[in-house]
């Protein structure tokens, strides 16, 4: 558990006979360009955007479905597990190459399968490969007067395959819904290299919604090799509002009033004083630096409804004691207001070498209690915790900032993380709203679900992916009911 050992104790371990045989087969399929085995490559692929890490056997970078199918069949034939990934922006360790029982997995990156296969403007849908970056689809859609709604903060780097695999969220979930709502069909490749078109394009009568299960499957059900995604017309009008408050409570109460008003905002983000100070210093978004909290609100749609929504928001914010309310007058001002929110990760990177990010969700009416609790936890553990909240959804990712070189800091970080999760659960909340379970939250699942609940989840997983080789150590413990048996692989620290 000492970070000093995180550089990996397995780097010089020679491959086993099975591993060597697999690597030889893979080289035949992928060549030097598509198969990476060097220490440097393996170090690059040790982790996703979480700080959970482990040493992979090698990295396969197929360019085509045929190559990917051959890679999967080779894994199957040699009994080697695999961890799918693309950009590696995940935050829960879903793409961290932990194996089982000491067997290092092959990382299979679909980043090179990145084509926009079809943009069907008339029917407002897109057929994409998994490595296509979210923002690239957004730009292609915008050129046709369309938009792709899911907009996770990492959208300039995150891929659509990863968005499907984690059922990603974003800023506009409140009215547009999570990723699953925008996935019409998934093409899932199993460990035999066979492709399953899940759900197809029929609006009903289409069999069990295995599409819905595969969205958020975190690579444990096979590899998402394509998806049909729903596009929406770009809204004719957009209204954006920035409101500053003296207290977190006032901001949270305003969120409660907005959610029960007669028109839901399309986005409601809350940032606390620490987050404001950090992003103002970094991005100069124009937030009031003396405020205890700001709300960023957005309404989209037709002009009268948008105006009425912004009017309502301004009135409710003022009634709840807002000290400053700014309506974006034009697209530039709107972009500036959002710039601060989108700069959070960059601002953090400039401030602290490490951060640990939770992703709990609470019912919206409990948001104020949750925010209070985070402040108390921050004081108790003597840690800087930034609160940036998808407030309309009750989804708060508190960023715990730290420097891993500080002695004993990790214990405090994990204690804070643990307390944030247990507080959220006590408020009728849940573990993860959009990042996924990965490894990080896997062992908390039994606090939410009963043994029967988990047994059924496991049965569904085995029915869809019988080989057990697809990202085996993620989402559910390998053996449900034996949580204590889940392993921290050698060379990894968690």
């Amino acid at each position: 558990m000492d970070p000093a050992t995180a550089t990996g104790t397995r780097r010089n371990v020679p491959p086993t006979a099975a591993e060597s045989a697999l690597l030889s087969d893979l080289h035949g399929v992928l060549g030097d360009d598509g198969l990476k085995t060097s220490v440097l490559s393996r170090a690059t692929y040790r982790r996703d955007a979480s700080f959970l890490n482990a040493d992979p056997l090698a990295i396969a970078l197929p360019r085509t479905r045929e190559e990917l199918a051959a890679v999967l069949r080779a894994c199957r034939d040699h009994g080697v597990p695999y961890t799918p990934r693309a950009a590696g922006t995940g935050l829960a360790g879903g793409a961290t190459p932990t194996g089982v029982a000491g067997v290092r997995p092959l990382v299979i990156s679909v980043a090179r399968m990145d084509r926009l296969l079809e943009l069907d403007v008339a029917n407002r849908r897109a057929h994409v490969e998994p490595g296509l970056v979210n923002a690239r689809l957004g730009r292609a859609a915008a050129a046709e007067g369309l938009r792709f709604a899911p907009d996770p903060a990492s959208q300039i780097a995150a891929t659509l395959g990863g968005n499907v695999a984690t059922n990603a969220g974003g800023i506009h979930v409140l009215t547009y819904g999570v990723m699953s709502q925008h996935v019409l069909a998934v093409e899932l490749m199993d460990t035999d290299g066979e492709v399953h078109l899940l759900d197809g394009r029929l609006p009903e009568q289409a069999g069990l919604d295995l599409r819905g299960v595969s969205v958020g499957g975190e690579g444990t059900l096979g590899i998402v090799i394509g998806a049909w995604l729903r596009l929406l017309p770009a809204p004719p009008a957009v209204g954006t509002l920035l409101a500053g408050f003296d207290t977190l409570e006032a901001a949270a109460a305003t969120v409660g009033a907005l959610v029960t008003s007669d028109r839901l905002p399309d986005a409601v983000e809350l940032m606390d004083a620490r987050a404001i100070a950090l992003v103002e210093d970094y991005a100069q978004a124009g937030y009031p630096t003396d405020a205890a909290a700001v709300l960023l609100l957005e309404y989209e749609g037709l002009s009268a409804g948008v105006s009425a929504g912004v009017d309502t928001a301004e009135r409710l914010a003022t009634e709840h004691g807002a000290t400053e309310v700014v309506r974006a007058a034009d697209a530039d001002q709107r972009a500036r207001i959002w710039k601060g929110r989108k700069a959070v990760a960059g601002a953090i990177a400039k401030t602290a070498p490490d951060f640990f990010l939770q992703d709990v969700v609470v019912p919206r009416s409990r948001l104020g209690e949750m925010l209070d609790a985070v402040v108390a936890i921050s004081e108790r553990e003597d840690l800087v915790i930034l609160t940036v909240v998808h407030a309309g959804d009750g989804n708060l990712p508190p960023f715990v900032l730290f420097d891993r070189r500080e002695e004993g800091v990790l214990d405090r970080v994990f204690a804070a993380g643990h307390d944030i999760v247990t507080t959220a659960l006590a408020l009728d909340g849940t573990l993860t709203g959009e990042h996924g379970v990965g490894i990080e939250k896997r062992d908390f699942l039994s606090q939410i679900y009963t043994a029967d609940d988990l047994a059924v989840q496991q049965a569904v997983r085995r029915a869809i992916e019988p080989s057990g080789l697809a990202n085996p150590d993620k989402v559910l413990p390998t053996t449900v009911g034996c949580l204590e048996a889940s392993m921290v692989p050698e060379g990894a620290w968690v």
């Binding site: 979930v173 609006p203 969700v361 049965a459």
Partner: protein, 336 residues
């Protein structure tokens, strides 16, 4: 997080019925309000009713979330929510006493699916009594939740083949400030392209019907811009429903128009409701199949056609077998 005692009391009869069926190697067909099952041919499967399983478990208007037992009629739910200015846009089947559980289990589309999205997108949590008699919960009461696999969506549209949906937590939204039906002579596809996210566009023999749900000023402005006239809602056929790729719906509705078959096609959704004699329905089924779709006949008296669910992926069979190893849940769509 579940209240095990309450749940056991509530669900004990269902668990017992399933266990008895397993012991006797019998088969069960789940009946909610009967809006689907009662119109299908009788089977020798025993009826497992959710009629006693009604009422609100927990309504949190401030969180836009409600939990109801599955046998609760959709109209009852809508009336309750309306007193809070809220709705869950799950549409009942016309005039047949749909229950919330039944609408989840069949996941049949209504015209408002165009803007409101599918039934599955409004489901946050499901309590399911599986076909192997386990009471399980999937999902949670928050509006976002990716904790574990999304078995809520798996249960939605499962036609009772995985078990009995016993309790449901639904996402809510404010009722739109204004809504109205309109009509137009123009083809549905053109009307749909000219409007910003209309609530419904329905193509019928009497023309195109449009529902707008917006701020009142936007309703007036959109209707004027596209030349819509006020109208009553369209009459929806009830005998059969074709499902096709939404991009091919116009081919189906123009075929029905030419053949003189009463129809209502939900533009942008891909569902077409149809009435007709057995010959007409047989022809409609063939046409839907040519377009890559399927036809579901919901009135046993209307046809001798077997109901044919579309072919399914082998994974589907494996998932069914995992939760219903003895195959006690009868799929009412099977030919018999």
């Amino acid at each position: 997080m579940s209240d095990a005692t309450t749940m056991t009391t509530d669900l004990a009869p269902i668990v017992e019925t399933i266990e008895a069926a397993r012991a006797a190697r019998g088969r069960l067909v789940i009946r909610g309000g009967g809006s689907v099952v009662d119109r299908l041919p009788l089977t020798d499967a025993e009826v497992l009713s959710t009629a006693e399983l009604t009422g609100v478990v927990d309504h949190r208007p401030e969180d836009l979330v409600i939990t109801v037992r599955a046998g609760t009629p959709v109209e009852e739910l809508s009336a309750l929510l309306a007193t809070h200015g809220q709705e869950c846009p799950i549409e009942p089947l016309a005039g047949h006493g749909s229950t919330v559980g039944g609408r989840l289990a069949t996941a049949l589309a209504g015209p408002r699916q165009l803007q409101a999205g599918r039934v599955r997108d409004w489901v946050l949590r499901v309590r399911l009594v599986t076909a192997d008699a386990r009471v399980v919960t999937a999902g949670g009461v928050t509006v976002k939740d990716v904790t574990g696999y999304d078995l809520c969506r798996l249960a939605t549209g499962s036609w009772g083949t995985l078990g009995v949906i016993a309790e449901v937590t639904l996402k809510l939204r404010p009722i739109p400030t204004a809504s109205a039906w309109f009509t137009s002579e123009r083809p549905a596809s053109l009307v749909l392209a000219d409007l910003y996210r209309p609530a419904a566009v329905v193509s019928t023999g009497e023309g195109t019907f449009v529902r707008l749900e917006e701020h009142p000023d936007d309703v007036v402005a959109q209707a004027a811009a596209v030349g819509l006239r006020s109208a009553d809602p369209p009459t929806l056929p009830t005998t059969a429903r074709a499902a096709v790729d939404p991009g091919r719906l116009a081919e189906l509705t123009s075929w029905a128009q030419a053949a003189g078959i009463p129809h209502a096609g939900f533009a942008g959704v891909g569902v077409c409701l149809l009435d007709g004699d057995p010959d007409a329905l047989a022809a409609a089924g063939a046409r839907a199949a040519e377009l890559g779709g399927s036809l579901l006949v919901l009135d046993a008296g209307a046809t001798t056609l077997p109901m044919r669910p579309p072919p399914v992926d082998p994974m589907t069979e494996r998932v069914r077998a995992a939760l219903d190893p003895q195959q006690i849940m009868f799929d009412v769509r099977q030919p018999r």
